[in-house]
């Protein structure tokens, strides 16, 4: 099996914030092009890769979608060379003070910068002993105010700058592991499919704007109108700060989700297949809304039978999100085997018990 780590590390080294996914889309398109029959961008920037099946036309299709956007910030105001910021997606403010950032300036320059938590005496008393709101954080580029004024504009993107770090025991840590790890898993699937027969068409999709609106999932599901969809996203791994029923051990298997966003029949099939292949998995429960692209895909057009697989990651929505490479390979393998197992009439077998 080809090593997925270099590709994942390259994905974790670019910004690609929600609404500006092009840097990630470019890398993914380059990686997928030799693995699929066609690659194109949707009207809103999601990446679609089609791998044609061997069945008779018109063939049914399965869409496997993973969002490629990341959370970040943008410039909201410039004061004396310091940047004020606003969030893109669900940023945990508490990871920001002292975080290394890149300011993607209107001038075209990528500027190293750091997030500043001003001393308490510089903040209103309402900020208290807790954590001040994002409006009180500053970003410092180290440049002189006139240089900042020349190059930066309100609206410019600010992304996490830290490079990915390999931790001991096959774990990779960085920003946007949620959800580039899933993109890597989808890529593993495409690589495995090179040596497999499959009847169905496969749409590999890297969606945009999951972190803010699920725009990519809605629009790609509508455009491609697959018969079946599997959504890949990051779930919670147990570890410091995360325990209880929502968290699962990292590196010990993949999450197969149940709940109203997921079709129970697809879940059953995935579960049976995982058992047959001896791929460790755990039951991931989402009682109402999974908070993922699965929600959007499920309710698109006339409704699409949808499954959700999750990769357990630690420290979600911090710049040190961590994932076990083994789990990525497991998801990729399970997906490829599932695709290969689809018979021409599989859709007709999908039933409500």
């Amino acid at each position: 099996m080809p090593d997925i780590l270099p590709f994942l590390k390259s994905l974790l080294s670019v910004a690609g914030l929600s609404g500006d996914e092009a840097p990630a889309a470019g890398l993914i398109a380059e990686k997928w092009r030799p693995l699929v029959d066609e690659v194109h961008l949707s009207r809103v920037g999601s990446l679609h890769g089609l791998r044609k099946g061997s069945g008779n036309s018109p063939r049914p299709s399965i869409m496997i979608a993973a969002h490629m956007d990341g959370i970040g910030m943008r410039v909201s105001k410039i004061v004396d060379g310091f940047l004020h910021i606003t969030n893109i997606g669900g940023i945990d403010l508490r990871v920001l003070p002292g975080a290394e950032m890149t300011v993607h300036a209107t001038s075209g320059k990528e500027m190293p910068a750091v997030v500043v938590l001003p001393p308490a005496r510089f903040l209103p008393e309402s900020a208290g002993d807790g954590f001040p709101g994002i409006e009180h954080l500053l970003v410092d580029t180290g440049l002189l105010p006139r240089e900042v004024a020349r190059q930066v504009r309100v609206g410019d993107l600010v992304s996490f700058a830290n490079e990915p770090l390999e931790l001991a025991g096959g774990v990779i840590s960085g920003h946007t592991v949620d959800n580039r790890a899933s993109v890597a898993a989808l890529t593993v699937c495409l690589e495995e499919l090179q040596n497999k027969m499959h009847t169905w068409d496969v749409w590999a999709v890297a969606t945009v704007q999951e972190e803010v609106s699920l725009l990519g999932a809605y629009s790609s599901a509508f455009a491609l109108r697959p018969q079946v969809a599997i959504v890949l996203d990051a779930g919670f791994a147990s570890g410091p700060g995360a325990s209880g029923w929502q968290a699962f051990p990292m590196g010990k298997g993949v999450g197969l989700c149940i709940g109203p966003n997921m079709h129970p029949f697809l879940h059953k099939k995935l579960k049976e297949l995982a058992d047959r292949l001896e791929i460790p998995w755990y039951l991931d429960i989402t009682p109402t809304d999974s908070g993922t692209d699965a929600f959007a895909v499920q309710i698109t057009a006339e409704g699409i039978p949808t499954a959700l697989m999750e990769l357990p990651i630690r420290y979600m929505h911090t710049p040190v999100e961590s994932v076990a490479v083994k789990d990525i390979e497991r998801v990729g393998h399970l997906l490829a085997e599932f695709v290969a197992s689809l018979e021409a009439d599989f859709v007709d077998t999908i039933i409500w018990e």
């Binding site: 310091f82 002292g98 938590l117 931790l167 001991a168 040190v320």
Partner: protein, 349 residues
Amino acid sequence: MPTFGNAQLKLLERLCNVIAVSGDEGEVRRIVLEEVKPYADEVKVDALGSVLATRLGRTKNRMRVMLDAHMDEVGFMIVAADGDGIYCFETVGGINVRHLVGKQVFVGRQRMPAVIGAKPVHLMDAEESTKKVPLESLRIDLGPAGKAQVGDRAGFATQFRRVGPSMMAKAIDDRIGVATLIELFRQAPSNIDLCAAFSVQEEIGLRGAKVAAQYFDPDLAIAVDSTPANDLPLHDGSENTTYNTKLGLGPAIYIADGSTLHDPRLVRFLQATAEAEGIPYQFRQPGGGGTDSGAIQRSLTGIPTVSVSVPHRYTHSPVSIARVDDWKNTINLLHAALKHMTRELIAVR
């Protein structure tokens, strides 16, 4: 004026990128020894681990002038294993725990990569997400196969960068002082005996400087450190009157801090030297805080002492910012001051 350019910046980069948490200064000590040995008449590593280097002048009736810069930085110590490559840690030195969540660190002499993670924001209620994360609930995570030892030090993984007129790095406090001393030692004027103390454990109580002063017994001393520049805009747009120092205004001369009334003769002399040489300078706003000067001044029978600092923003955090010109002007000011020093300066009438 001393030479200043890429070689000096490269030296500072090396110094900032290594980790030397108070009590474990070996990585910086190694660089210091390598850099000062060729120029030193005498070098020793003292009982606490400080590097004490002497370079003798050539004129008659020379003064012994001690320059001090501390080698240590704030950081962490591993205190207990939590299993699965995850460790509890304590802070060493004054660290604001608000700077720790989501940071990359290196652990131990082998610089094992690790991260300080946090509970996902999704798993918190609204109130919890507005509170600071207490140290007790933070962990250093080396990965499932990671093995650290209790007692290992850890530090921020930040790498030095040049950005326009600035430098971004961890531990500018006080590697910029260490680099300054190395440069002054290499380019020392001949009218004095230069006693360079690269001291340990400043961040946890000025320990190395105290015994260094007692060893050198100098005629006067200058602590070379890096002081916060709190020159940020205020939330309501009003004037910031408690900035301590400002970036870009040159070396900061101390008048009074929390532990020391700096020798007024030396303060005036530094000011006069800067004026005469046309070197920009600023006075650090009198107030709290302190440097090794506090320990040095009260050593032996009392030592006339002053502090000069390169200003930097975001002290004791993963990324500090200082200006190249402030550093260059600090070296220039100290070099000019050393060159023009005479016994008159501290004569008791």
